[in-house]
Assembly symmetry: C2
Amino acid sequence: MSALKKIQGNDLIQGVLKLVVTGKYGKTLLISDVNAAIIVTLMLIPQSLAYALVAGLPAEAGLYASILPLIAYALFGTSAALAVGPVAIVSLLTANTLMPFADIGSAEYTELALLLAAMVGFFYFIMGVFRLGFITQLLSYPVMKGFITASSLLIIIGQIKPLTGIYMSRGNLIERLHTLDISTLHIESTVMGLIAMAILFWARSKAGISVTNKLFGKFGTLSRRLLPMILILLAALLTGLLDLSSTGLATVGALPKGLPSLHLPEFDMALIRQLALPAFIITLIGMTESIAVAQTLGAAKRQRISANRELLGLGAANIAAGFSGGFPVTGGMARSVVNADAGAETPLAGALTAIFLSLGILFLTPWLAYIPIPVLAATIIVAVSQLLEFPSMANLVRMNRLDGAISWITAILVLIWEVEAGLMVGVALSILVMLANHRSPFMAVVGLLPSTERFKNVNHADTETLPNSVFLRIDESLTFLNSGVVEQEVLKQVASNEAIKNFVVVAAGIHSIDASGANMLKRIHQELAGAQVEMYITDVKVPLAKKLEAFHVFSSAPEKRSLSTIELYRQLQAE
Amino acid sequence: MSALKKIQGNDLIQGVLKLVVTGKYGKTLLISDVNAAIIVTLMLIPQSLAYALVAGLPAEAGLYASILPLIAYALFGTSAALAVGPVAIVSLLTANTLMPFADIGSAEYTELALLLAAMVGFFYFIMGVFRLGFITQLLSYPVMKGFITASSLLIIIGQIKPLTGIYMSRGNLIERLHTLDISTLHIESTVMGLIAMAILFWARSKAGISVTNKLFGKFGTLSRRLLPMILILLAALLTGLLDLSSTGLATVGALPKGLPSLHLPEFDMALIRQLALPAFIITLIGMTESIAVAQTLGAAKRQRISANRELLGLGAANIAAGFSGGFPVTGGMARSVVNADAGAETPLAGALTAIFLSLGILFLTPWLAYIPIPVLAATIIVAVSQLLEFPSMANLVRMNRLDGAISWITAILVLIWEVEAGLMVGVALSILVMLANHRSPFMAVVGLLPSTERFKNVNHADTETLPNSVFLRIDESLTFLNSGVVEQEVLKQVASNEAIKNFVVVAAGIHSIDASGANMLKRIHQELAGAQVEMYITDVKVPLAKKLEAFHVFSSAPEKRSLSTIELYRQLQAE
């Protein structure tokens, strides 16, 4: 365990290699890492091919995006489990970003994907260096649920064409439905795709799980994870042997032999400006997914993940993708879970995955050419359908109408308008709701619970009150946004009762105060004094007390801010 | 008093006139209102002339802006004290807004001022009808201090030319200094202006106050308030008798005789679009000043002011200004205080002011022509210098660096860039600082104060703790913006101590939670369970308890969220 702890927060060079030299990276750890790498490689081959197609790129771009980026991440990142590579939603965002600039399939488009990956890498670096990882927190839970569900639905709908041949353009739901042309249906493709889908869905069903567990014993889970790879290899075999492509069945086709060539993407300032916002959003989404995954998997082993180091790792991975024929990558949820389950113990697992995948490319290329596109589409649909969170979104509406509304609005805008616009509206709504909540603080007139020293909302309990005094508990920091509301409430309380001689703000729930809030307190203090009402503030906690002193609130009468509620109550009662 | 209470929240027709009919609006109230109206009229004449010049308009526009708008406000507004009419900062904003569209002094410019006033009136109405008055709260105390100080400084610097003849263009500080031409200095103007300034400043000094109080007894304050009017009448007399305008001394000049003609401003959609943002900002600034004044003066008499009714009143006033040769108006701070002091008891005082001012125009017009511009400039400088709040801004920096920085940044941007831009940057910074504070909640590990039931920060007091349990108090609502920070802190606490078996969130200071916060709690509950750590949440208040239930946090183990901190402490201690 001590060796492991040391690796945390280290990269490949500083961690693993040093431990190899000092003999601490022993046989057990190596076996774990190799084991994880083999399994992840077998998952990654079909996924990388499929997600390249989602991104509108030739299949080999997916393979290329799964070699150098993984090694770069292993060198700079900190998570042992995070499996970097092409992922579905980032691939969708890549296609959405590049489509306005070049035709899918053109060399220009492939070049643009390199530029985009390099820019995404640059943004990751900036975020990591300036410790801006927290920006992902702008993407609230409801926004992410809505965004991921809608994006996944777009991906699934986008697979109808590769699965069945039915034509539709890319773009949002309306554009896709508008251009749908059922006359292009291709029977053989559809049959093969649906069979693959049925097998894959079945394997994830209860029946499938129990059957595979019976068949393969403790390798049941593994067998289900490798099923997509097994299926596409079988389908490729079938297609090759029966020469199915002569029926018009689309296949991956001949891939360039060997490893990717390294070259710089073209840097065009005008283009860079136009790609900046989408690249930033791809970074944000990638960060959100990766860091959450890395932290969750890390926490299970009580390992802390440095979010900013992760960003450097992902930045390096994307820059590597930009230089080696890839496209934007990030840490994939499903693969990372598999990686962790399979025992990945150090970042070496990721580097080994890259090596195994390179070997795969060198030896499997002729085979991969026969992979039928409908089967790849089926693997995408089944994988991405796990990301559809309609039940969670429906639950959210039941739990909290506003959060639910934000989630659905985000999803609908992503579906029928644009991914970026949907996300930005969702974030803006989340902030507005938060500010609106902050603007309407919970305020309650409280009274003393008889024979205790505790004060409760007079509407919730039988309490004692003093006839000429009002105790108002305010449960919110006082800022420029809510001090007007608080002032109104105080003035309302005082105006509604001519007998009031003492007004007490119970501040146990006021965590902080800004200049506007302080000024409001001074103003009402003065206004109430003008109406012969004494004002006090009680149960002031240390951080608030410091601020009240700094802002000179009650500076001429510090006893008005230093008592506990019960002390003041007894004092006023005695008067 | 009962009559008065009834007037509150009523307008002129529904209130005063009904009371006149029923005989309740008696002699005393009428005398109070007439008295206030006379004094306000005498203040308003020089101010309205002067502020018209600040707005870049002919002097009569100021008078016109002080007749119908006041009657319109009296009909629709609720405040007895608020004295509506031209005010310095709104006049500055008017000039800044219109300058890019027309030359100052041109008929086109005067027409544009009407359109602007009508648009401002429209915005006030919208704000009133849709109850959007709270939007002014976006203008935090630091932003307003910085904005008002910088605007006032711009107004004062803008008076250098009318005071001395030294040429400078309008615009921001840089533009003004850049075009400064000292060769245009006019000695006679400068001497007369400086003498007037000296007298006015002296009258506000301690010496001046004590001398005038001795001279005029209980009318000392009144004498100082009417001093500007007395000075300009004397200066006009002097200028007329000695024919000083032949030396090149600028005077107000012949005013059109009689009352303003009513006509519609021209409505040009392209212009309206361009004027929309500045008109909105003029509305916002006018609202902020007026409503604060009305509420402060109202509170002194325990009268509640309906902000939304005020907005309708100010909307009516501005629309009236747009139809009767005026420009944007609002409630002036200084005049309103005088109005209240002089005893204004009902909105009739405002209507009477308009009537007296009309009489003044009818009979004084020949006299007003001789008023020397340098003396008007002197009255503006002295009045507006009261709004310079450099000491408050310096204090703010000492009280709280961030609030202080916001104030100074706003002021500097208003001075050297643009009024609107400065305000908007200030508001954006205020919101950012608030969100940043919210993002870093106060969190403290707490322990039990021996022989009490209270828990305190372990760093602030000698407390008892349990070896295998951490009690973390979180003092902030949990939202999407801070749940990442809280999660990090929790995981840090757990990772730093292998012995921890129980993790307790003390929630007395958590007022609310959103879906992201709830999801974070569920996630760490799960993560901690994975690391064999039990998680609890204690001291949950009713509003939070409802939300935790709605979001199904600890729904399978409600006892983990229902205990008080001391109950759980005893229970864990007993284990």
